[in-house]
Amino acid sequence: MSKLNIKSGLVEMAHGSGGRVSAVLIEELFVRHLGNELLSQGNDASAFEVPAGRMVISTDAHVVSPLFFPGGDIGSLSVHGTINDVVTSGAKPLCLSASFILEEGFPLAELEKIVLSMAEASSLAGVPIATGDTKVVERGKGDGVFISTTGIGLVPAGIHISGDRAEPGDAIISSGYIGDHGIAILSSRQGLEFGTQIQSDSAALHELVADMVEAVPDIHCLRDPTRGGLATTLNELCKQSSVGMQIREVDIAVRAEVRGACELLGLDPLYIANEGKMVCICSQKDADKLISVMQGHPLGRDATIIGEVVVDERQLVVMQTSFGGQRVVDWLAGEQLPRIC
């Protein structure tokens, strides 16, 4: 069987044919780096024992551009993103699947970097990639690499975290600085490069969430504020729980560099994506305990209470501005685009 020329080779249509060339790619790139007991079974379907209890499943397609950005790449992001979706139920993530859509002509060396990054993220998190698939599309019909991952998790007994459980009086907690991921991506996007120290916050939050759930089993809601940012996540929760929210701008952590970039581009940090943050809603009586547990974990060190759930039939998120006024924090309309002047 021929060897894969990773150093200077390119993805070819044959790599997705399902034939021998595909097998070489899978063996020398995917199995070699991602290999684990489940993947090594070599079957179309990986078999594993199911523990008793409630399971959760979540899926996420990753199409980030650029593929490599300060603080991460599409490989680690596709692992972190799905783990974080799984743990918003309070679950312990068990395993992931990964589907690759590769564009003809994509350098194999870059693909290997991405797979190595996935392997590292998956092994650090202790969540194996149990099954995978690879397809190749013609040049011009993809954007290098798309990765779709699905995760399965086991919810500990007695935990019932859901977006419809926010109740008036509940505390709203944010796990730290917002907007880092989106600004890191924008700063490296073609046509918009600007110098910044900002790194993506991309990280797997399963340990942080495990600590939180252990300390306060009755967490009402958890959600990771990815696309659409904190503002969109809060609006989603308001709608799902039929409540309103009152938040305080002064308590929402935003780095000076992120604020600066947002000012320049006419963007609002509340709408910028995060990939390593968690929004949590719990009873006021549990809030202090939860904050101290979160602050004890490196990924929750800057956790703060940013506001309260209120009764509001209109389901609005209203913010007390640091300036002293009040304003609505609305859903994101379309893409968040820079202003003209």
Binding site: G324, R327, L337
Partner: protein, 372 residues
């Protein structure tokens, strides 16, 4: 953040607002038009009107570049993108502005036209260099702030011999619009918060005629919330004293004569258009510029056969009245029902600088209580 936080200090804002409360005459109304969408945005984003007395009202002006562009010009651009093999590029908000029959540049893009969002006119030049076999058309809009960069791009294109770069020019002039609004008198304005970035280019002298002719005070105001409050205090004082002068609160950026270099550049490339159609204001004489004959090779309207499109106003939409300062967004039957930022019917619901979008996105808690 230096140079920003200083101008967003809540304590200073309350002190300044306290002076307005002390000095305002409770027996009269004060109607101040903030000319620019940047001011409208700041007023709503920071909740400035929460700090103002009941008898002081901000009236929103026409200074939102995408809001005042008539739908017909967008339709003309869509027709160009669909009939010729061009790359049409423009600034972001314009992509979503409704043209006629529910169309927009975004929808034309989805149908297959090569329409691209750019961050700067220099991106359009780069596209022209990278695609020598294709025509790149820059859909240029905006007031005097965005006009000098367009002029610079045309000059660069000529010096590089970039024969595949043209500009669809829709640049408009601020003082002409101000004259038009004050001359009609229908907005009943007692004072104007004058443009900040525009004034950095054209200088504060540019408004002297307006103030004198219509006996209306004007204070050039920065875009930060403290700028807006301080400028409002300055207007209150002028009104109380019966003055109608141009004052400059935004002295950290604006001089009396403005940026001469930018003015010279604009004069080299552009000449006045005899008349131009504004959304809301109708045809306003000498209110826009066009590319001089010497640069006709870079004028998309000369290069291509572009059809002037007339689009009927959207039924029920009161954007025109909002842009003239005659109506508030909440007076519109479509507001927050048929017209939302997701599905805008009128241009003022698109850009965050548009009055309707500002009401909807930041002030809906107030709007729905009828207190906007």
């Amino acid at each position: 953040m230096k140079y920003v936080d200083e101008f967003r200090d809540g304590d200073k804002a309350r002190r300044l607002a306290g002076r307005i409360h002390n000095e305002i005459n409770p027996d009269r109304q004060y109607r101040f038009m903030e000319f620019c969408g940047g001011h409208t945005h700041a007023i709503f984003r920071f909740g400035v009107h929460d700090l103002m007395p009941e008898n002081l009202k901000f009236v929103h002006g026409p200074g939102c570049p995408v809001c005042v562009l008539p739908a017909g010009r967008i339709e003309t651009a869509i027709q160009l993108a669909e009939s010729e093999d061009v790359i049409l590029c423009t600034y972001a908000d314009l992509m979503r502005v409704p043209a006629g029959k529910g169309d927009s540049l975004n929808r034309a893009k989805a149908r297959g036209s090569d329409i691209r969002m750019i961050y700067s006119v220099t991106d359009a030049l780069s596209l022209a260099r990278e695609n020598p076999a294709r025509q790149v058309v820059f859909f240029a809009i905006g007031f005097e702030t965005t006009t000098p960069p367009t002029a610079a791009a045309i000059r660069i294109a000529r010096s590089e011999g970039l024969n595949n770069f043209t500009v669809f020019c829709n640049h408009v002039l601020t003082p002409a619009a101000m004259h038009h609004i004050l001359a009609s008198g229908e907005a009943r304005i007692d004072g104007i918060l004058g443009p900040s970035h525009v004034s950095a280019i054209i200088g504060s002298f540019a408004y002297a005629d307006c103030c004198r002719d219509y006996q209306t005070p004007l204070v050039i105001a920065g875009f930060e919330p403290l700028d807006v409050i301080q400028s409002t205090l300055m207007l209150v004082r002028q009104v109380n004293e019966g003055c109608f002068e141009v004052e400059n609160q935004y002295s950290r950026a604006v001089s009396e004569t403005g940026n001469r270099k930018a003015q010279a550049l604009m004069a080299e490339i552009f000449e006045p258009r005899p008349t131009f159609e504004w959304r809301g204001l109708g045809s306003v004489p000498d209110s826009a510029v066009q590319i001089r004959p010497a640069y006709a090779a870079f004028d998309a309207e000369q290069r291509f056969s572009m059809q002037a499109a007339q689009t009927a106003d959207i039924k029920g939409c009161i954007c025109p009245a909002v842009l003239r300062g005659v109506s508030d967004p909440v007076d519109c039957k479509l507001f927050a029902t048929a017209c939302t930022p997701e599905e805008p019917k009128g241009a003022c619901m698109v850009s965050s600088e548009g009055a309707c979008a500002a009401y909807y996105s930041y002030g809906r808690h107030r709007a729905e209580m009828g207190k906007a």
